[in-house]
Amino acid sequence: MSEKLTLAKAIGSGLRRALEDDPSVVLLGEDIGKLGGVFRVTDGLQQRFGADRVMDTPLAEAGILGTAVGLAFRGYRPVCEIQFDGFIYPAFDQIVAQVAKLHYRTGGAVRMPITIRVPYGGGIGAVEHHSESPEAYFTHTSGLRVVTCSTPQDAHSMIREAIACDDPVLFFEPKRRYWTAGEVDEEFVGLPMERARVVVEGSDVTLVAYGPLVATALDVAAAAAEDGVSIEVIDLRSLSPVDFGTVEESVRKTGRLVVAHEAQQFGGLGAEIAATVTERCFVYLEAAPARVTGFDVPYPPAKLEEHFLPDLDRILDAVDRVMGRENSLTGWRA
């Protein structure tokens, strides 16, 4: 029943199932047909389902999303691929002013079951605009759902759930984990898309991560354990809404929170998580929540990305901070 797949192929198989299960599902994007997408996620799908259901579009992202809106009006469930994170901005107006708002605007009459697939994040040595983490623009936009995944099984299950969802969903694919392999069972019914997952249990610090940094968070937990610190790792999965129930329960237990993401810090999702957890768990907190994020600079050239990206050491340093141990800010003066 289950099969070992890379995360990329697990999304591909999820798309295949969605196309099989529902004739109203159509795929739109640049180079998703014959080429199978620049990451080959849609490999073989056009051959199998025809150019009518897996459509190469002209090179224009607003065009792709705007066309998807019209298709949704006509009862379709479009799945749009944005080739790389940094190319989503030309479609920004169609996403935030149209896709996100049409259900509200029409008093619930018109549904926008549009899935927007976005390979995102850095760490692959790419050139500019190919390593961005723009999720906070969309989590701040009412009317959208935003999810991401960190394992092949989630990738498969969640893309299907996203497509089946009657709301628009931004589906962020952690591109540097595309080649991570794992067991995928097409029939497996796991956590609903909106729910966060406690990946490792722990008692000292709650470490919240998502997408590409979940793997890093697991390394952190292992390293900290050797150091006598017990970390509970939460894979957020849904970025909007955030499953605060799960996060709160953990923080009430640990009293300490570290949030990690690749996106820039100022106004990133980490701020919302820290703020909300502080609001709801204030009396339980032993220390201020700490954030480990990309710096507030444009994504840098490849030879500098190791400095931009949160890694094991930087997260451990934040763990030390919330634990009140010596850390890089101990002696630091503003």
Partner: protein, 348 residues
């Protein structure tokens, strides 16, 4: 048709409207008069503080009625804010025309009830929606068409040009209906385009027609030819209906700052209703009785329109949270529940 209401022969377009009966002509005349009356009434309602804003269509009645009346109920319209005559022709209820402008709702009607989407305020965005809808029609193998209404100013937007790219590439049954009313708020059309707007589409591989938008019959003929092409698999058509915005951009606008009275007067002489009436009179169709009956109908519509508008109820506070999502959302549900408790505490 000349501004004096004399028909000019046209071998291409005449056959397309040869079947229009006198009754139909009179019905169209009634439409023109009624939509203008609605428009005037709405402006009055705004002046009286009953509407927040209103975008008058004065002068564009023939372009809107002439095109919209050619559509079937299974066709679908994606319009901008000024297409209230189109909405009327699609069967939108009178009070539904003003919900948005009174601020009681973000949408006046259910799009699926009338085959017309909630008007788009973001200029040009709807042209892509029409293209996508038409793509859906093509996939479904039906002969319905999608129509995008937009203005001359909109043609400068990337979205409108991308819509032409997609429509041409996919050869979908969409009609781009541009009302060139010479203005985008205060900007004359010459700032947007140095060539006639209809000249743009052929370069995208889309046939185009430039039609006198104040000539009801010409608009009908042009629209019918585009519909015919769309229904029979011929792909998109672009229509530029050359007309004139005789009023302000909206009730908030002060056109005296940028318009030339002489030009305004010129266009007043080309009033689409007067012209159509002259034509009907020339044919002997438009009697004094008919005029009186139409006026009475228009008055009646205006009365019901006003009453409908004034009767619109304000939405309940907690509905501010409704329909953001089609499925439950834990974050928002909590926010709603907290606000409910707030309202309770403060006694609202």
């Amino acid at each position: 048709m000349t501004p004096q209401g004399v028909r000019v022969r046209d071998d291409t377009f005449d056959p397309l409207i040869a079947d229009v009966s006198p009754e139909q002509l009179l019905q169209l005349h009634e439409d023109l008069v009624v939509v203008r009356r609605i428009d005037t009434e709405a402006t009055a309602l705004q002046r009286q503080g009953e509407l927040g804003l209103w975008p008058p269509l004065l002068g564009q009645e023939a372009a809107q009625v002439g095109s919209a009346r050619q559509l079937r109920s299974d066709d679908f319209v994606f319009s901008s804010y000024r297409e209230n005559a189109v909405a009327y022709c699609r069967g939108v209820q009178l009070e539904d025309l003003v919900r948005v402008w009174r601020g009681t709702a973000s949408s006046g009607w259910n799009p699926f009830d009338v085959g017309m989407a909630t008007p788009a305020v973001i200029i040009g965005a709807q042209t892509l929606h029409a293209t996508g809808y038409a793509l859906g029609c093509k996939k479904d193998g039906v002969d319905s068409v999608a129509v995008a209404y937009f203005g001359d100013g909109a043609t400068s937007q990337g979205d409108v040009n991308e819509a032409m790219v997609f429509a041409a590439s996919f050869q979908v049954p969409v009609i781009f209906f541009c009302q060139n009313n010479q203005w985008a708020i205060s900007e004359p059309v010459g700032l947007q385009a140095r060539r006639p707007i209809a000249d743009r589409a052929p370069g995208f591989g889309i046939p185009s027609i430039r039609v006198d938008g104040n000539d009801l019959l010409a608009v009908m003929a042009a629209t019918r030819s585009a519909i015919e092409r769309a229904r029979t698999g011929g792909g998109p058509t672009f229509i530029e209906a050359v007309t004139y915005r005789m009023g302000p951009h909206t009730t908030s606008d002060d056109p005296s700052r940028y318009t030339d009275p002489a030009v305004q007067a010129e266009w007043a002489a080309k009033d689409p209703i007067l012209r159509f009436e002259a034509y009907l009179e020339g044919l002997g169709f438009l009697t004094e009785e008919r005029r009186a009956a139409v006026a009475a109908t228009a008055d009646d519509v205006a009365r019901r329109f006003r009453a409908g508008c004034l009767g619109l109820e304000n939405p309940e506070p907690l509905t501010v949270f409704d329909h953001v999502y089609a499925t439950p959302n834990s974050w928002l549900d909590r926010q709603k529940s907290q606000y409910a408790s707030y309202l309770e505490m403060y006694g609202e």
